[in-house]
């Protein structure tokens, strides 16, 4: 069982990763009409789950999305990116709420 400061560290990692993810999605969408542009994706969820279960350090992975390219060599799929953006929004809110929760626990402990 993680204590409050440990949890804050984990949530901080998750928040950094979520912000990274959002920038990558923004970059993919801004390049949706750029010839030969290949979309990237940022993943950290499985690495974080693994680290939490078996120990070790979680990493943020930046890799090509690898979807099929159109005739101009571009493989950005707007529906995919929009979906990822919605998921990213919710993840961001979840992490922010959890962080606020951890901070109020700390604050309660301090003022108790």
């Amino acid at each position: 069982m993680a204590d409050a400061t440990e949890s804050i560290g984990i949530l901080q990692f998750a928040l950094d990763a979520v912000v990274d993810q959002q920038q990558t999605i923004a970059n993919n969408i801004s390049n949706q009409d750029t010839p030969n542009f290949q979309a990237d994706e940022v993943t950290f969820e499985s690495s974080l789950a693994q680290a939490l279960e078996g120990g070790g350090t979680a990493t943020v992975e930046d890799s090509p999305e690898g979807l099929a390219s159109g005739t101009d060599g571009n493989n950005v799929s707007l529906p995919t990116e929009m979906t990822l953006m919605q998921e990213n929004d919710l993840e961001n809110q979840t992490v922010d709420n959890a962080l606020s929760g951890q901070f109020s626990i700390l604050s309660d402990a301090i003022t108790a």
């Binding site: 801004s30 390049n31 009409d33 929009m82 901070f103």
Partner: protein, 140 residues
């Protein structure tokens, strides 16, 4: 040029390129009927060449994508298409007038694409703003 609000900046570069794209389409359509005497300089259609913007070497996240930019404006053919119109005041002795090579169908589909892209970038801006606001709202 990366800032803490990168998500908004990146979408901004996208909207800017889309705006240039829409401007060139406007210019192409507005000038598609600019007939000239054959041999005179004729309007050349303008096309936007977009390229990815990446963090320069030496910066923190070298090679990371930070949006899109207009690399260049390419021009369409310098020689137009001839049309027989002897009553036109600019027609030559053979009765031909030279018109720019602009395909209205292509311009219109490009316009729809540019508009969709602009909307998507605007959407990213509002999502990114919400996300940053949520982060700023973290408190005990």
């Amino acid at each position: 040029m990366s800032s803490i609000w990168s998500g908004i900046d990146i979408a901004g570069t996208g909207a800017e390129v889309d705006q240039t794209w829409i401007d060139t389409i406007g210019g192409n359509v507005a000038n598609m009927n600019d007939g000239v005497t054959p041999g005179q300089p004729v309007y050349q259609a303008q096309y936007v060449d977009a390229g990815e913007q990446v963090e320069p070497p030496g910066s923190g996240a070298q090679g990371a994508g930070v949006g899109v930019q207009v690399d260049a404006i390419s021009l369409g053919p310098a020689t137009g298409q001839l049309e027989y119109d002897p009553t036109n005041p600019v027609a030559n002795a053979q009765g031909d007038v030279e018109y720019p090579v602009v395909d209205l169908g292509t311009e219109m589909t490009d316009l729809v694409q540019a508009q969709t892209s602009y909307q998507a970038n605007a959407e990213v801006m509002s999502h990114a703003t919400n996300a940053y606001e949520a982060i700023l709202d973290i408190k005990a």
